[in-house]
């Protein structure tokens, strides 16, 4: 199967065939060739229980199930698209509204931020604007992520932690611990901060995806 192909930095061409279906953000289709059908999907490949959990968590964006035979072009709001291939061994953590398209073969899940660091995780989710839940993708397949200004991959090593601005964080994968570090001092309190008061520290081994902007989607 000739995987996902970038036509421009903001447009993605995805082959669809019986047995190789995809889920995409609803309304993100730009054009297609062949005979392809789009059906709104509330479960996005999850079980009913998972879907209800996501709805309750607010970690949900409307997805659609793309089936048939052909090539479909996807894009959204002029945002940059990046393709991430998962080989089956690791899990991608990403916000639901940054997900443009993913293979139906990937398992979608929801992770409670409290699972990573308890109360601290909840605080982190609130501060970074990620909310209390984040989406996980596992399995073998590809997905397309949305970002403002394109993404850069930064490798994370055990002796090589990376600090990221929470607003510029897009996704990460691998065995990564994240921790919110603060550098809030007297200067921040009197309104003369450097604008870098909160940082996400990622350590372990994996990859973090960072966008060239501090804008949320």
């Amino acid at each position: 199967m000739p995987g996902y192909q970038k036509i421009t930095s903001k447009m993605l061409q995805v082959p669809v065939a019986p047995g190789a279906e995809v889920y995409s953000r609803r309304g993100a289709m730009l054009a297609y060739t062949g005979s392809v059908a789009f059906a709104p999907s509330t479960t996005a490949g999850q079980s009913i229980g998972g879907a209800i959990g996501r709805a309750v968590a607010g970690e949900r964006s409307a997805m659609m199930h793309v089936t048939g035979q052909g090539e479909v072009m996807f894009g959204h709001a002029g945002l940059h698209v990046s393709v991430v291939d998962l080989s089956g061994g690791d899990t991608l953590f990403v916000e639901a509204d940054r997900l443009l398209v993913h293979d139906a073969s990937l398992q979608v899940g929801t992770m409670f931020m409290g699972e990573q660091g308890g109360v601290r995780g909840i605080v982190r989710g609130a501060v970074t604007g990620q909310g209390l839940f984040t989406t996980t993708l596992t399995g073998k397949g590809s997905c397309g992520l949305l970002s403002h200004g394109g993404v850069m991959e930064l490798p994370i090593g055990p002796q090589h932690p990376v600090h990221v601005d929470p607003q510029a964080y897009v996704a990460h994968r691998g065995q990564v611990q994240n921790r919110l570090t603060t550098a809030v001092g007297l200067r921040e309190l009197i309104g003369r901060g450097s604008g870098e008061g909160f940082q996400l520290e990622l350590s372990g081994s994996g990859v973090v995806y960072v966008q060239a902007s501090e804008r949320k989607i």
Binding site: H80, H148, G149, G150, M152, L154, H160, P161, V162, H163, V164, D165, A168, A183, R187, R192, G193, S194, G195, E196, V208, V210, Q211, A212, S213, E214, R215
Partner: protein, 202 residues
Amino acid sequence: MLAVDLAGETIRALNGAMVAYEGRMAFKREGMTGGEGLRGALKRKIAGEGMTLMEVTGEGTVYLASEAAEVTLVQLTGDTLFVESESLLALEGGLRTGVQFIGLRGMGAGQGLATTKVEGHGTVAIVSDGPAIALEVTPETPLSVDPHAYVGHHGQLRQDVVTDVNWRTVIGQGSGESVQFRYQGHGLVYVQPAERGGILEI
């Protein structure tokens, strides 16, 4: 996006422009005067040419970006770069900044009364909406640019405003190109492929 390798040096960058870093870094907002002295700070206040920079010090790599804008690097060897304060992303620690009054002609371009000048030896990173191109100006080939697409310039240049306002502009039937900056002399002008909104729609 811009990656800067630091080994103990200091650079100055737009406040809040860090998106990621590796290694050990410290971020500190510059004082009220921003290294321009009390007079410089007062001039900046009067001119409304606001600029908030932070000092970045440390060892490692820092990644800087702002609103998905394109980054252009300009090497200065003792000459002066004129740039809008909002187009400045980062500069090497050894460079000096100051305010240059440009007079009333800045009003039409939405630039305000003053612009920022950077002088010394080192590298400056400027941001633009879309990739900026550098257009060369020689005495034989003067250059006219749309004030809304102008990003910055350096070299021995004289700046004039050319207006072509006639009755059509007055009744709202203008071509949208009634005011232009005209550069003469020797130097480079940076132009972006997008037009900023100005105070006056001319």
